[in-house]
């Protein structure tokens, strides 16, 4: 479909009457850019000094050998699904990494951007959630080898900013999916969907952005708040029908991405501000809260290994200081790599990446299977 020549002529005629002082604008762009750069550097240095991040960064360099992979002891293994930047366009792909070898393969590629993915409990199927601006959201379930894809949930575009569907989690018996999806202008509801494409049941209104089903099937953990407006993002648990809501955190920070340990006794999540996030673990009743990472920068998207011995997470700790600083500035294309650590925060290893494409930037782990 080429340009319409008649309309183009009319646009050109109209454009000639729009005067643009390009030289003056160039000076304005240069001046504004320098001012922003200065304030950004100052802010980054103040934050780093306040929490001792400069010392931590030095320690990491010694430990990691400058960002290359480190020996992991009793090495983690399995198939780790993550969301990664699409080198050919905009949005996120679903990719899979062999944790033992670092080999990466693309799992799904299609229209829209992936927003979440999860292995079925037996590792045989992968559920992925997608969203596209002006095109709605949907959930696809496919076999581990990519075969037999089925759309089990679809929602029209709400016209509001941001993806309407944000997270999904399998029930332990593999028959249902819990979703956090937009139901109102300022809210996202937790809904339960039949994994074979059957019915949909809304179980709890409010503003929920993350959801994860407990391994014994009796509870959901979710992040958000149970009203449409005016709440704070905290961690809650509830029965799968939305009853018996229990608030596990109560603070000003924004929690995200909760994930149950395989034995159901602990919950890991990330918390903090937009550009400074750390990873926390607590008991399933909210007690014994511990920060297991503590640095200025991004540690986020924690996922438990199937045997419970490791936690994979996204981090910018192995990136250059310039790249880390750019992450904190609100850079659209922020950079993270995947690392692993013990559930107490020890034995941090990584990055796990094998050979990366030149344009691969964001890596966010979302699901780990044997």
């Amino acid at each position: 479909m080429n340009a319409d020549t008649t309309l183009r002529d009319r646009f050109e005629r109209a454009a000639r009457t729009i005067e643009v002082d390009t030289v003056q604008r160039l000076e304005a762009v240069r001046g504004a850019s320098e001012r922003r750069e200065r304030s950004r550097r100052i802010q980054a240095l103040v934050v780093a000094a306040a929490i001792g991040a400069l010392a931590l960064a030095g320690a990491w360099q010694l430990r990691s050998g400058g960002g290359s992979a480190v020996p992991l002891g009793s090495a983690p293994s399995g198939r780790l699904v993550y969301l990664g930047s699409d080198p050919s366009g905009y949005g996120l792909l679903v990719l899979e990494m062999d944790v033992g070898t670092g080999t990466i393969s693309t799992v799904t590629q299609g229209r829209g951007s992936a927003v979440a993915a999860a292995w079925s409990p037996d590792g045989s199927r992968l559920a992925t959630a997608y969203a596209v601006d002006d095109g709605g959201s949907w959930v696809t379930v496919r076999n581990a080898d990519g075969g037999d894809p089925q759309t089990v949930f679809e929602q029209e575009d709400s016209g509001l900013i941001g993806p309407d569907l944000l997270d999904l989690s399998w029930s332990p018996d593999g028959t249902r999916l819990a979703l956090a999806e937009r139901a109102a202008a300022h809210g996202r509801t937790i809904v339960i969907v039949d994994a074979s494409g059957g019915g949909t049941q809304s179980v709890l209104d409010g503003h929920w952005e993350s959801v994860s089903w407990s391994p014994d099937g009796t509870r959901l953990v979710a992040v958000g708040f149970p009203q449409l407006e005016g709440g704070r993002f905290d961690v809650y648990t509830m029965d799968p029908d939305g009853s018996d809501l229990a608030r596990l955190t109560d603070d000003e920070a924004v929690e995200r991405n909760p994930s149950w340990s395989p034995d159901g006794s602990r919950i890991v999540f990330d918390s903090g501000g937009d550009f400074d996030r750390d990873i926390y673990v607590m008991d399933a009743d909210g007690s014994d809260l511990q920060a297991i990472t503590d640095r200025a920068g991004l540690d986020l998207f924690p996922v438990w290994s199937p045997d419970g011995a490791w936690i994979a997470f996204a981090s910018d700790r192995a990136l250059s200081p310039a790249e880390q600083e750019r992450n904190r500035s609100g850079e659209i294309r922020f950079r993270t790599r995947i690392h692993v650590m013990r559930p107490d925060g020890s034995d941090v290893g990584g990055p796990l990446s094998g050979p990366l494409g030149a344009f691969e930037t964001t890596m966010l782990p979302v699901a780990w299977a044997e």
Partner: protein, 178 residues
Amino acid sequence: MELGAGLDEVAVERPTDFDPFFLDHFAKVARAAAFVTRDVGVGQELAQEAFIRLLQRWGDVRSDDHARNFVFKVAINLARSHLRKHGRVLLYGLEGPEGAGPSTAESAAEDRVEMFEALGALSPRQRACVVLVDYVDMAPEQVARVLGMATPTVRVHLMRGRATLRERLGVPVQEDPT
């Protein structure tokens, strides 16, 4: 924190320097943003903001095309945000923005006033699609990437937008060039 909506693109040629790139492209971006917002001043402000963001990322830019896609993406998204902030009245052209009405028209600006008024009959998405294809000369596939839409959606917005625009401008209906 916005994920993944970035500069990535497979291209390997190094771009020109920022200043020549700016001088070559700023006016086109400013005018495209002006068409989408139907406001000459706002168009230039949004284009300026888009180029500030581009300059801050200039080290990541792979090619002139790469930079061009980025700067149009930012400017058009800012234009759509601007329209959202100013409410539905402005969105659908029930009330023209300041400076677009006939009362300010001078004879030299009649073409612009007429175009702004005609564009007011299009939805913001239709406007963005028509401006990027028929003024900026992008292919629908490229527009889809810049706007974060599916290509068929772009084509639908383009067809409907063109039909309305031709009618409003009094341009004879012709077959859509394909």
